[in-house]
Amino acid sequence: MTSRFRPARFQIPRFQTVLFILLVAASAVMGGLLWRQLDRAHQRLLRGEDSAPTQAPQVAPAEQATLLVANDADNSLLTQVDTLPLPQDPGARARLILGKLLDLYAAPDAAHPVPGGSTSVAQVFLLPAPSLPGNPNSTDPKSAEPKSSAAAAATGPLLAVVNFAGAFADSHPSGIETENLTLQSISGTLHANLPRVTEVRFLVDGQSRPTLAGHADLTGTYLATDAVPTEGAHP
């Protein structure tokens, strides 16, 4: 009885009811489509991610690497030859050798104690040295010589850009001698194992930084072939 006398304003019009049902149905259909697309994408991802080895792991042959190990006691660099597996790629090779060098410095009884170890070198990039003929940055007037830049890049001197991890620079001991020895030993080690590397630049977390730990200049280019001073000798 009450519904019979209900005012018309309380009744939902039929077209609104139909519209509501249609919207709910459309939402359900779209949700289903979305779920199906997601499932397809997941399946596609799984198919592309083949975890099975496609190539047999290559065991790099063990080779000899020459390390120039710093010694704080007399401000010297001592040559040490280690044997370790090295890849053929020069950049990866350089990074592994420097990692080995920095592992020595991270040892408890190191003559040049520097924390960090092998993870301190994030990358080593090898680029044609700026003095290389054909290099657009070259200031050498001989750049115009008709020597092929590709051939020159294959045989000419290289600039190594060593990118340190920020934690390494932040934890490096402060001092002229210790910072200088770290940079000299890295430069000398790179040149000893990759003789084409004649110049070295240093970055920290991919950025240029004024000094390593408050002293040694990191904005300039270090010559890898620089002579190393010894105790008591005049520089």
């Binding site: 001092g175 002229i176 200088n180 004024p210 000094t211 408050g214 040694a216 904005t219 300039g220 008591g232």
Partner: protein
Amino acid sequence: MKNSPNGPRNPLRTLLLASLLPGSLVARIPVAPVLGVVLAAGLAAAQAPAPPTAPQPAPAPQPPRFLVVLDAAHGGDDPGGHLGSQSEKTFTLALSVRLRSLLGARGIQVLTTRESDATLDLNRRAEIANHANAQACLSLHASMTGSGIHVFAAAMAPAPATRFAAWKTAQAAWVTRSLALAGLINSTLQQAGLTVTLGRTALPAVDSMTCPALAIEVAPDTSAGANRADSFTDPAYQARIAEALAAALLEWKTEAHQP
């Protein structure tokens, strides 16, 4: 002062005026009487009997100015390395003050880059040294690594002096003199019984200095016991270093004044 109709009252002023004025005006000024007055005065002074005075000795030639710049590294917001209980900036300032006193007592002019715990940019340090036109510039540092005294000169190759030098390699024209100073300081420190390590490095402040410039890094004494940081609180060790550096700079001054 007014001029009389026949001529000025001050003859010297008239002469000065005549030399400054153009010819047409000079011609109107009666110069002859003035010259006569001046010449007469000069003649009278020449004829007057000279008072008996002792013969004046020839003035001694002034020795060339000798100035040393002492740069206490770090300071203010930049503490430098940690040397046990104190920071590098505190030690270098104390050494700079002590060395300044010793050099002053030996008659050597000293300019310090900082006299307090103040932040000083590396470029500003080089600017101070370069404006001073000094004969020696020492950048004082300290470190817990190594032992004895580390003496560093710039690592760049010598280059001839030019009128305009690149800021970052301005030291190149002075490297030869810097190496000579390093040799002198090396021998003096060794005579004082200190262990010396010589080296070359790239330091932003020293590389921009246009004077014989070195970085002197004090490391713990070789005879220090288990606690190497004790060297930095030992006044005797600091005094030995300062005395030896002062002696070396005095010898450098003597060599600089030799023809």
